[in-house]
Amino acid sequence: MSFSYFFKLAAVNLGAVAVGLSLGMLIVYITGADIILAASTLIFAPLSDLYNVAEMFVWFTALMVIAQGIGLGIRAGVWNVGAPGQFLVGSILTMMVWKFLNPFIPPLPLTLLMLVGGAAGGLLWALIPAVIRSKFGGNEIVVTLLLNLVAVSVLWWALDGPIRGRFSAGYPLSDVIPTAYRIPSLIPDSRLSYSLLIALAVAAVFYLLAEKTHFGLQVKSVGLNPTAAKTSGIKVGWTLFKTLLIAGAAAGFAGSLHLMGVLFRMDAGYAETGNDFGYIAIAVAMLGGAHPVGILFSSIFFSYMMIGAQNMQRIIQIPFPLVYAVVGCMLISLTLVQRINRRAV
C-alpha cells in the first residue's frame, strides 16, 4: 500500500464520516437541542479528563477486537453480524469457567482458562452460521442475527441458573469476579485495564494472519473471486467456515476481556453492551477497509465518537440510539464515496 493511495483512501473515508456526522447533527437540530453545545460536547468531552480518555480506550478495546474478526470475514466475503451474540456467549462461558473451576484451579492458570473460555464461547456461537453457510449455502447474515436474539434469552437463562449470584436476592445478577481473577487495572480510578494491551496483541495476530500467512492469502482470494479461488484449488467452503469461526472467537474473546477487565459481573444490561459493541464494530471494520491496521485507526475514531455521544446523552439528553442512525448513514455513505473514488481513478 503506497502512501499516496493510503492518504487518498483516508480522505475518501473522512468524506463518508462527514456525511454521517452532518446527518447526526441534523437530527440533533430537529430534536431542538442546542447544536453548538452538542457539537462541542461531541468534540471536546472525550478528551476533557483522564476518566473520559480511559473510557474511550475501554470502547476501543472491545470494538477493535470484534472488528478485527468482522474485517477478516469481509475480506472473505462473509458478513458476521452475530458479534453481539458471540460476545454474550463468550462472556457467559468466561463467567461459568470462573464459577465452576475456581475451587480447583489457582488464579493465574484459571485466568488464562477464562480467556480461552470466552474465545471458545464465541467460536461455538459462530459454529451454527458457519455450518449453514459453508455446507448448505444459507445466508449467514440472517442466521447470525437470529442467534443474537437467542443469545439474549441464553443470558437470561444463565442469570437465572448457572451463573446466578449467591447474593442476587432474586435479581438477575451474577457474582462479582474477585480481584485475583481480574485483568489488572492500567490507570487507577478508571475502568481501563491491561485488556488494552492484550487487544493490541490480538490486532498483531490478525495482521500476521491476514497479511503474512497462506490462510490470509486464501481468505483474500475467496473474497475477491470465489470461482477463481475454487479453480486454483482453494477449498472455498472450508475457508469461509474457518473465517467465521475466527470472527466468532474474536467477538467471544472481546467478551471475556470486557467482563474480566471492566465490568466483573453480569446483569440483564449486559445484552445491550453486547449489541452496542457488536453492531457498531461492523461499521468499524468497514471504515477500516477490512485491513487490520485500518481497523486500528477506525476503532480510535469510533470510540471517540461513542464517548462523545455518551456525554451528549448525559449533558444535553440526546438519546444514545442516535449513534445507530449515524453509523447506519456512515455505512451507506462509505460505499457511496468508495464507488465515486473508484470511478475517478
Binding site: 448448505f136 449455502g137 444459507g138 441464553v154 453492531y279
Partner: protein, 309 residues
C-alpha cells in the same frame, strides 16, 4: 397442566393467532420475493419496518385514524424504496452494506423520535376485527381465517396476486428476466434499471405494510425495537420458499404457529420460563434451514449490479 392446553379450543386459538401475526412477516416476504426476483436483496427490510411502524403509530396517534397511519407509512416506505433503489440499482452499490446501513438507521431513528415526541406511553386506535358474514360462522375455519382485521385478508389475498403477477404478467416476467439474466433482458429491449427500480419500490412499500401492521392492527402501543427481528425472518422465508410467493407460506405459517403457541404459553404460566419459550421460534427457523435449503436456487443475478451499456 400441559394436557389441559392440548385441546381443540387451544389449537383454534393458536391457529387464529398464527394468522393474526402472519402479516408482520407476510407482506414483507412477498415484497422481498418481487425485489429479489428482479435481482436486488433488501437486507434493510427490518429497518423499513421499524421506521414505518413508528410513522404509522405517530400519524394515527395524532389523527386518531389508523388508515391515515397506514397511508403515511406507505408513503415513507415508497420514499425509502426510492433511495434504496437509487443506491443499489442506479449506483450499483454493495447491497449488503446498504441494507445493513438502512437497518441500523432504522434501529436508531424511530427510537429517538419516540423519546422526544412522547413523554408517557400512549395508545392508538387500530383496525378492528371485521368478521366476514357467514364464512366466519364455519367451525374451525371461521375463527381461524375469517375473523380478523382487513389487513389480514389483504395479506392473504396478496399471495395469489403476487404469484399471478410474477408468473403470468409481462411486468412480472420482466422482473424474473432481470433477476436471472439482465444482459439478455437488456438485449430484448427491457430497461433493466427501471424494472429493478420498480421491483425494489414494490418491495419497500410492501415491507412498510408489515411495519405499519404492528401499530395499526397488531399492537396498540409502541415499544423500542418493535419488530424484533421479524424483518430478517421475512428474508429467511423468501429463501425457504425458494423465491416463490406460494411456497413460502408453509414455513411462514409454521414459524408463526410456533411463535403463537409460545406467546400463549407465556401468559398461561406452565412452569417454563419465558426466556426458554422466547428462543424456541428462532431456534425453529435455524433448525429448519438445512431442511428447507435443499434444492433451493436463488435468481442467478441476485445481488449482482447491472451496468447499463
Amino acid at each position: 397442566m400441559l394436557e389441559a392446553l392440548l385441546t381443540v379450543e387451544f389449537f383454534i386459538t393458536a391457529m387464529a393467532l398464527t394468522v393474526r401475526i402472519a402479516p408482520t412477516i407476510l407482506f414483507a416476504s412477498l415484497g422481498e420475493v418481487i425485489s429479489e426476483k428482479a435481482g436486488v436483496v433488501n437486507l434493510g427490510v427490518e429497518g423499513v419496518m421499524l421506521i414505518t411502524a413508528f410513522t404509522a403509530f405517530y400519524t394515527s396517534f395524532h389523527t386518531g385514524n389508523p388508515a391515515m397511519g397506514l397511508l403515511v407509512a406507505l408513503a415513507i416506505g415508497a420514499l425509502i424504496g426510492l433511495v434504496h433503489g437509487f443506491l443499489t440499482v442506479y449506483l450499483g452499490l454493495n447491497q449488503v452494506v446498504v441494507g445493513l446501513g438502512l437497518w441500523l438507521f432504522g434501529l436508531g431513528i424511530p427510537d429517538i423520535l419516540y423519546r422526544i415526541s412522547f413523554k408517557e406511553v400512549p395508545t392508538v386506535k387500530v383496525f378492528e376485527e371485521t368478521p366476514i358474514p357467514f364464512l366466519s360462522e364455519i367451525p374451525f375455519i371461521g375463527p381461524v381465517i375469517f375473523k380478523h382485521n382487513i389487513l389480514v385478508y389483504l395479506a392473504l389475498m396478496l399471495i395469489p396476486a403476487v404469484y399471478l403477477i410474477i408468473n403470468h404478467t409481462r411486468p412480472g416476467l420482466n422482473f424474473v428476466v432481470c433477476g436471472e439474466n439482465p444482459k439478455a433482458a437488456h438485449a430484448a429491449g427491457i430497461n433493466v434499471l427501471r424494472t429493478r427500480m420498480t421491483a425494489v419500490l414494490i418491495g419497500s412499500v410492501l415491507a412498510s405494510l408489515s411495519g405499519a401492521y404492528f401499530t395499526t392492527a397488531f399492537l396498540r402501543s409502541y415499544i423500542t425495537n418493535i419488530t424484533f427481528g421479524r424483518g430478517f425472518i421475512a428474508l429467511a422465508m423468501v429463501y425457504f420458499g425458494n423465491w416463490s410467493p406460494v411456497r413460502l407460506l408453509l414455513p411462514l405459517l409454521l414459524y408463526n404457529f410456533v411463535d403463537s403457541v409460545q406467546l400463549i404459553l407465556q401468559t398461561a404460566d406452565i412452569g417454563v420460563r419465558y426466556y426458554v419459550l422466547n428462543m424456541i421460534p428462532y431456534l425453529t427457523i435455524i433448525a429448519l434451514m438445512p431442511i428447507f435449503a435443499r434444492g433451493v436456487r436463488p435468481p442467478a443475478a441476485l445481488m449482482k449490479p447491472f451496468k447499463q451499456p
